[in-house]
Symmetry: C2
Subunit: 579 residues, 2 copies
Amino acid sequence: MPTLRIALAQVNSTVGDIPGNVAAVRRWSREAADAGAHLVAFPEMMLTGYPIEDLVFRNSFVEASRQALTALAEGLAADGLGELAVVVGYVDADGPPAISSAAVPGSGRRDASALLHRGAVVATYYKHHLPNYGVFDEDRYFEPGDTLTVVRLGGADVALTVCEDIWQAGGPFSAARRAGVGLVVNINASPYELNKDDVRLALVQRRAIEAGAAVAFVNMVGGQDELVFDGDSMIVSAGGELLARTGQFSEELLVHDLELPVAADNAPAPDGRDGMMIERFLVSGDISEISGTADGGIADRLPDHAEIWSALVLGLRDYVDKNRFRSVIFGLSGGIDSAVVAAIAVDALGPERVVGVSLPSGFSSGHSKDDAADMAKRTGLDYRIEPIQPMVDAFLANMSLSGLAVENLQARVRGVILMALSNQEGHLVLTTGNKSELAVGYSTLYGDSVGGFNPLKDVPKTMVWQLARWRNTQGDPPIPENSITKPPSAELRPDQKDSDSLPDYEILDPIIKGYVDHDLGRDELIAAGNDPALVDRTLRMIDLAEYKRRQSAPGTKISGKAFGRDRRLPITNLFREGV
Amino acid sequence: MPTLRIALAQVNSTVGDIPGNVAAVRRWSREAADAGAHLVAFPEMMLTGYPIEDLVFRNSFVEASRQALTALAEGLAADGLGELAVVVGYVDADGPPAISSAAVPGSGRRDASALLHRGAVVATYYKHHLPNYGVFDEDRYFEPGDTLTVVRLGGADVALTVCEDIWQAGGPFSAARRAGVGLVVNINASPYELNKDDVRLALVQRRAIEAGAAVAFVNMVGGQDELVFDGDSMIVSAGGELLARTGQFSEELLVHDLELPVAADNAPAPDGRDGMMIERFLVSGDISEISGTADGGIADRLPDHAEIWSALVLGLRDYVDKNRFRSVIFGLSGGIDSAVVAAIAVDALGPERVVGVSLPSGFSSGHSKDDAADMAKRTGLDYRIEPIQPMVDAFLANMSLSGLAVENLQARVRGVILMALSNQEGHLVLTTGNKSELAVGYSTLYGDSVGGFNPLKDVPKTMVWQLARWRNTQGDPPIPENSITKPPSAELRPDQKDSDSLPDYEILDPIIKGYVDHDLGRDELIAAGNDPALVDRTLRMIDLAEYKRRQSAPGTKISGKAFGRDRRLPITNLFREGV
């Protein structure tokens, strides 16, 4: 029984930064070699980042990825790492990309995995199952592969697969059983969702048993626009036993020894109901002798609130850093939403990169200003005060405005001030509206919706409160108790409360979840126990808010179905649920 | 040889307005019956509108579509139209939709066509080829059908197909040849693109010859968010001859007599390389005797500028009317972009529904104000003047701003004024930035980018000028000559000109077209004859403007690849072409 020392490189890749991603592979491969690994696996699309979307149609981009792959193989050998088998994801194309092919989406583009050894690309594999739901659009972008790649390494047979190949039955894992491999390496760019770690573990275990082979599952970590990749890499035995597992939300190298069956030279079972061909490659030479024992260990899972908080912090940090912003700025009102955004921002970037601006109007209460100042004092963020009344008065003196137009005007003057500070000083403006408010349209277009990124875009209001209470239990509490306990208010007219216009959030949030996240209609929502009148009122608000949402900033995605790219509705849409 | 009188109902459908769409079918079916037609065909997804996007995952919506179909069949019979065969598109699902299926995209949802006769649904067909490129995402939404539906009507065999079925070889048209049908009815929601009419005619002719059958191609007409459906319905003989063709951009009923071969009862040719099954249905009873002759005639095609103008006018009108806006408002600067928007808006809505606001600053030239007033006088639109200086001064007095921050401030104050007027009076705000400006980021986020719809979003600056000159040749010229001939300027600082920051638009527009519309990389653009330094400068501007574009309003799509949904790039993307 050969023993392979497997390393899983759970690392952070950046879309488009091919040189940076290549450098990361070389750095982590060095670590893997130093740990005595025979094989190290990097995530899906490691060289290009994920998702690359329409970049796949640009020949120059695909060519850059292909050239980076061969240069990487040579670079690893030059680094003295040629004996290490390196499995890495990249984008490939059939033959040299031709200009004409750019016009035909998907034509010949491949979501690929390669095994590099001794300065060369020994084998490549093209992803077979292409996901085309939720945040995935891979039928637009790629052609599916139809051949399982099996590599013989140190006397064991190892199959290469990519991400969705493990989520769908049949195909590569079925072919892996026919090929009699000892190990399936599955490289991933699998985005974080609530409780996805539990789903993943059960899935990897099931596929290992189906394939009759150990599975090495490695996932990307890091933020990319509204996605967060949480890592959660693992190794499962052929019997379905969890052997080793990384932590979540941070870069990590998991190194683990795996006893594998001796590869047999029998022909594969002929029953190809999976529709896959099988192609075999040999990694030349013997593998190095194992020294000592490597046991990757099984890291604890985070509790739910810690998991969500980590996703929000990582999502914001990577959006800011990867887009090369020095700092962030936002309106700090003393309310719960901006307080939680401030705490996330300080955790992500440190207080010196966070600017909170109090933007009081004539309707702002004393406690609002006090709570904002208290928040700033607790966290050490850069705190400013910019009263909006002189600018609001200039508009009111020159125009005849009343009612809602005056309320919105205040929010828009705040937006103009934040954008002016952004232009003057170079900060990224954060939006602070929560998912509940955005869903029902309780916000001002070009007012409080101004900003390039919204950490709370997919966080319902009730969860905002839960996160605030949880965060305050972790070390010094950053959030003033009063921001958590006072009734929420937009403070755009005297004594205004959210409850004047909206049902209680405890009632609202389940309706939003049903309608937005689960596509339930009116009757289904009522059958689920929601009050009919409140369902009608809420759905009407959500339908009318669809347009506003199309204008909102990206933000971190934490649930199964978020706003933005993941929810696609026509703007012009006269379908109304119920009354 | 039976002669069928065929009617093609090129009509306007609205997403989500199922009752309104059903009423339109009943109204136009009456017209078709009055014209003596035996069969009338309505566009793809007539009952629901197109595209319905994620609405397809809502069971209540799918159920509403199915129920509307059966109610429509009964309604037509109640109207005394039961003898007319009505072919109509709708969304269907396999079996009754279950709540659980909502979580599995595409599961069992069908893009369907039905034939209604004597109060019943006689036959249904499920679209086989699903487009998943450009503006189409049908692999997300639908399951492909695998059975060609053939209906015997008045002794002739008629096959039902849907849209993309005609764009891809094989499949239904190949099965139609095997089935030996005399006519293929192809119902469409085929969006307008430049020169698409020429492509369509050649395509329909080729497929008619391949199928050995006449083809009746009926297309939707009207605007839906950023899409415009242009109609261009036609009937082509089995030999490929164009027999009849509608005009573009307006509702129309094309009625034409078609001699068809007598249906034979031979079994279909067995060679099903197209992978389709064939199912036959009988429309009971004899068809009525033909009275007189119906020749639909062949309408002239519009010249290019007229075609584009018509698309822009229809796109705006339907966005405004279908979303139930009373009127539109925008900044009327005296420059070419807002002048062309004003002319489009007046053509679409009439001058009484169009508000143009002059928003002069201290940097606005005398000719700007004069040209705006002249435009208003020529067209009769509602003209207002709102000087921005007092509001700008209030910000400057209370903040320390300089340079670009001051330039952007002026544009944002204009945005706040337009939104305040929108809130106060209920107008839809139009954005007036052209495609060239938007592509290179020559606009102010939350400033001149404020608005719910932008007629020029996909119109390059050079085309804006061409359209202005063309429109001025059609009757009384609405656009002041000075707006067309003066050099473009943002007027955000003294004596500013676009040419201070940008290459000439004659040089810029081909680079934008290559990079944005055709995905060419730097080397390909240089090989195409563009200046290397200008290519580098322009690509850098476009890459940096990607984010802004994500915030821009929808607008009418006129080219093969527009902004917005049709161009999907990661925001965080460090890939840079060239230097």
